[in-house]
Subunit: 150 residues, 2 copies
DNA sequence: GTTATTTTTTGAATATTATTCATAAAACTT
DNA sequence: AAGTTTTATGAATAATATTCAAAAAATAAC
């Protein structure tokens, strides 16, 4: 893929979009200025965190999606968030949750293929404090990020 | 919350945003028309599926996040996608994946509280063909939809 | 390797759309 | 009910996206 497109994709993945105020106003049979005012309020009070793009991940080399369940080693139970924040930094990581049950953490990761996932997992899961892991691979995505796929 | 804000949130959750071309151009030290051209290409070939907002879900009454692992009943193994599509329709469902391993499906759901999750689960998981389920509740989100939280 | 063809970039002109602002209306407070 | 804050509105402006024709670059064909 072209260099500029790759950069554009990276930027759109995390933000750099904006609401279509006049289109929203039309859909809601409301005035653009009213919608504008309310959206600015939502932004100001932190309700809206970002405006971003959702992709057909197969087309951007992230078609292979995995959910990784993680157990922490006993010495890291005190501060699971340190590891979570560490994992969250990685651009291939879509989400990080600290969860209830047998596993302490659930991380959603996107990569190109099972081979690339293996490489990624080696670096990602070698963080000190990560114990046992169990990976669930997605065979098919029907919806992501509230957006239906195809 | 105000009525118009609720509607705005619903619309922004699934789309109704647009890239900030001139801001992207500035960041990339490129021309707005060049960025425009390339983004239109990405839209045309289906690389970009939607432009949407990401929220502080606590603030929109969806602070309780669950991951539901699902087993299908044996008579539905032939068409797991029917059920997946059914689940994907629901606005509280953020994602639906058909996965490898002991469970056939992983569904990410957002609701207000554990009580509301119970109500939701009752309707959602009563779909014919869904067998055993196991729910992992998120205690804390560090990242969602590629966007770091707080 | 040169020519032809397609794709991408560019800058100027235009069209859209967001934003600002002053005022009015509505919703809460006391 | 009077005062105060929040929200809605329309007109004016600013900012931004979009269109277009032309040039440059990249790719394919010979």
């Amino acid at each position: 893929m072209k260099d500029i497109r790759l950069s554009v994709i990276e930027l759109l993945k995390e933000g750099n979009c904006t609401p279509r105020i006049s289109k929203l106003a039309a859909k809601l049979h409301s005035h653009a200025t009213t919608v504008h005012y309310n959206i600015k309020q939502l932004e100001k009070d932190g309700t809206v965190v970002a405006y971003k793009a959702v992709f057909d991940y197969k087309k951007i080399g992230e078609g292979f999606c995995s959910y990784v369940l993680i157990n922490l080693t006993s010495d890291e139970y005190g501060d699971p968030e340190r590891i979570a924040r560490e994992l969250a930094k990685h651009p291939s990581v879509e989400s990080v949750d600290i969860i209830t049950g047998e596993w302490e953490m659930l991380v959603k990761v996107r990569s190109q293929s099972i081979e690339q996932y293996y490489e990624l997992a080696r670096t990602l899961l070698s963080i000190k404090g990560i114990g046992r892991t169990h990976t669930l691979n997605s065979l098919k995505q029907l919806k992501t990020e509230f957006v239906p796929i195809k």
